[in-house]
């Protein structure tokens, strides 16, 4: 029910006097308020809305994200749910489109009575959903959008970010590459927020380590032909090309680099490779060094078991093994459900506080180091892996060779804390569903 003691919510209520008069009732949040009150005392299911893309630039990743999220829910439901309550979920296509994301968030919260929203790949969509979620105080897990701004200037008290971000990956790669490859760098930047913030982070790190940026080529989103850029790169002859290209664009870039056999010199650093992007393209076009948060052949306890369960749940799907996107979705959803359990209910402020204090052991994360939620930026601080194409795969899914891993502390996005301003708890509308 709504514990309507907080300033902002009360102001909202007062403001709608006109609506109340017209509607002739005391309530004007529509059916939503009624059902919330009615829910009191019953063992009503906990409902989660998955705001996953099914079409557009990140349709592929969004659906892989969803597979991981569902797996976590199935595991809890098999054990009887959380606090004796079943977990239900609903999803709709956010179309990699912020305006659609915004509408679907409104729908999930006000019509479908979801107390929690999960899922995002595109930072624009994530922000749109965050704004709606913040208005209602609904907790939102940004599973896979890795724009540094998500845990920086666009952070929010109700939003938690689960992927490593561009700055993390850049920190992990730059120093090593300057030492082993060379100091002359060229940047290839997808011309939108994630690309820009990632490239800016890379640039700062390269310059701090004594390297030099010879050029920064901005690539419009939806570029299908990279020849002009590749010609420029060949003419400039840098030691390293650091690419912050995402989604469908990276797939096209990869194919064209492979065709030209340009994947040897210069050395390529791809900030991050999402598994669904890699799987579609085929092994021989995987090039360069890149960051990730997880790999299905990590030699750690529990990984093989997790992969088996995932495969059982997603047999016949388009991707045969879980990758980092599905992993992030799974981990986020699992930790949310655990936090609800620890909080003893779905009161959003209590769950937020639980998530802010979250610490997960390495074994539990199936990563090399312990992880924790940064209470200041709401970003999961976790192991960052560097990988490249596996020259000697053990099976057709074994595309990566993990070459190193570093602890969260060594790859922290140090700028984020200064940019992120979380609202005070009493500024967040509170409720329990």
């Amino acid at each position: 029910m709504i514990k309507d003691t907080k300033v902002s919510r009360r102001r909202l209520l007062k403001g709608s006097a006109m609506a109340a008069a017209l509607a002739g009732t005391g309530t004007f949040f529509g059916p939503w308020t009624h059902t919330r009150v009615l829910a009191q005392g019953q063992k009503k299911p906990i409902k989660i809305g998955f705001t996953c893309d099914a079409s557009g630039q990140y349709g592929d990743s969004g659906q892989d994200d969803l597979r991981g999220c569902r797996m976590a829910i199935d595991e809890f439901n098999a054990k009887g749910g959380v606090l004796g309550r079943k977990i239900e979920w609903i999803t709709a296509d956010t179309e990699t489109n912020p305006a659609t994301g915004s509408r679907i968030a409104e729908r999930f919260i006000t019509r479908d009575e979801c107390g929690f929203l999960v899922g995002a790949v595109h930072s624009g969509v994530a922000n749109a959903i965050t704004q709606v979620a913040a208005k209602y105080g609904t907790i939102y897990l940004n599973t896979n959008s890795s724009a540094p701004s998500e845990a920086g200037e666009n952070c929010n008290r109700v939003k938690f970010v689960w992927d490593g971000n561009g700055s993390n990956f850049a920190t992990a790669t730059v120093q090593a590459a300057i030492n082993s490859v060379g100091k002359s760098w060229m940047l290839l930047t997808n011309d939108y927020v994630w690309g820009h913030s990632t490239s800016n982070a890379t640039k700062a790190l390269v310059e701090a380590a004594g390297g030099r940026i010879v050029d920064n080529l901005l690539v419009p989103q939806n570029t299908r032909d990279f020849t002009a850029y590749l010609l420029k790169i060949q003419q400039a002859k840098p030691d390293v090309v650091a690419a912050a290209i995402g989604g469908d664009d990276i797939k096209a870039l990869r194919t064209q680099v492979a065709q030209l056999k340009l994947d040897g010199k210069p050395a390529w650093i791809n900030n991050q490779q999402d598994w669904p992007d890699v799987w579609g393209a085929g092994a021989d076009s995987l090039f360069g060094v890149f960051g990730t948060t997880w790999y299905h052949k990590l030699p750690l306890p529990g990984v093989a078991d997790f992969v088996r369960k995932w495969q059982a749940a997603n047999a016949g799907g388009p991707i045969p093994v879980p990758g980092n996107v599905s992993y992030n979705g799974y981990m986020a959803t699992r930790e949310l459900l655990r936090a609800i359990k620890r909080a003893g209910g779905t009161n959003n402020i209590k769950v937020i506080k639980e998530l802010e204090g979250l610490k997960v052991s390495a074994a539990d994360r199936m990563q090399h180091f312990d992880a924790y939620m940064d209470p200041v930026t709401h970003q999961m601080q976790q192991t960052i892996y560097l990988a490249r194409r596996n020259a000697k795969p053990s099976d057709p899914t074994d595309l990566y060779e993990v070459i190193s891993w570093i602890d969260a502390k060594a790859a922290t996005d140090t700028a984020a804390a200064g940019k992120c301003k979380l609202a005070a708890y009493d500024q967040v509308p509170t409720f329990e569903l």
């Binding site: 099914a54 079409s55 557009g56 349709g59 592929d60 659906q63 011309d191 080529l217 901005l218 690539v219 419009p220 939806n222 570029t223 299908r224 032909d225 020849t227 002009a228 850029y229 010609l231 420029k232 060949q234 003419q235 469908d248 797939k251 096209a252 194919t255 064209q256 065709q259 030209l260 056999k261 340009l262 669904p276 799987w279 579609g280 393209a281 085929g282 076009s285 388009p318 991707i319």
Partner: protein
């Protein structure tokens, strides 16, 4: 920076654009019908080619295994024939719908094919999923070659040469064969065509199918560069439409010239102001059509009314 490589790149890119626009132009020029599903049929062609080359055929397992033993070059060649023909069949089905709009405001044909584009794209998504595929090509036309001290993609030159060939053949077909003459007459005076005892309905069906076939062919040629994904159709139909408007409705060489011009502008702006390169073609169009009523060399057409 040496500009020459970028000009060369622009021309090869332009030839690809012209190839993409070729089928669109045929249908616009000869039937005064804007086929916004052109891009989706282009995508369908690429998907079908992928199915043929990679052996994902709905056939018994042994047959598929046999088929995959055939050298890639042969499978690729087979795809170049089979996929466009199959797509042309889909095009014929679409024409059966589109023919209801003949004689009405051309807007209706445009809108109908807009709806068809949505439907085809969603069907592709349903059948093949949202993930993308790579069309394997024979080693003889992949890889790189070196000149001007730079590595160039062999495939792009193959694609450019293929485009030139296709453009030439279509031109010969229209200008030098009786079929072409009939097609042209069908466009400009349906009375005359009827008087000659030619079945106009069937003629339009075949012209539409031919346009679709060219769309599929373009899809197969472009697929190894762009990758195969459901919305590749939108990436193709907008430039195709733009090229036709820029070249002028009803002008074969206008469209070819417009294609190359667009390629040059995109290629060269990619070198100097890369972030604006996608916009450059629109600015080119605005600059030309503001001053020239029918693009570069368009003719009077129903589509202006």
């Amino acid at each position: 920076m040496n500009l020459l490589p970028h000009i060369l790149n622009g021309i090869t890119l332009g030839l690809l654009f012209a190839l993409i626009a070729l089928g669109f132009m045929l249908v616009v020029g000869l039937m005064e019908q804007i086929n916004l599903a052109h891009g989706s049929l282009f995508a369908l062609g690429a998907y079908l080619a992928f199915v043929v080359v990679s052996g994902r055929l709905p056939l018994p397992v042994e047959w598929v295994r046999e088929w995959l033993l055939v050298p890639l070059a042969w499978r690729y060649a087979a795809a170049l024939v089979v996929a466009p023909l199959l797509t042309a069949l889909a095009g014929m089905v679409l024409e059966l719908c589109v023919r209801r709009t003949y004689g009405k405001d051309p807007l209706y044909g445009l809108l109908l094919t807009f709806g068809a584009a949505m439907v085809i794209e969603e069907l592709i998504r349903l059948v093949w999923g949202t993930r993308d595929y790579v069309l394997p090509v024979p080693p003889s036309i992949s890889g790189g070659m070196i000149f001007w001290d730079l590595i160039w993609s062999t495939y792009r030159f193959y694609a450019a040469a293929f485009s030139i060939g296709a453009i030439g053949l279509v031109w010969l077909f229209i200008e030098r064969t009786p079929y072409g003459a009939i097609i042209k007459a069908g466009a400009h005076d349906s009375e005359i065509v009827r008087a000659l005892g030619i079945d106009l309905t069937r003629l339009r069906l075949y012209v539409f199918a031919f346009g679709t076939l060219l769309a599929a062919l373009a899809g197969i040629i472009v697929a190894p560069i762009w990758g195969i994904r459901p919305h590749m159709g939108v990436d193709a139909v907008v430039p195709a439409f733009l090229i036709i408007v820029l070249g002028g409705v009803g002008s074969f060489w206008g469209a070819v010239a417009a294609g190359i011009l667009v390629g040059l502008v995109v290629g060269v702006s990619g070198a100097y102001a890369s972030e604006w390169s996608l916009l450059s073609m629109y600015i080119l169009l605005i600059a030309v059509v503001t001053f020239r009523a029918r693009g570069l060399s368009g003719k009077k057409s129903l589509l202006e009314a």
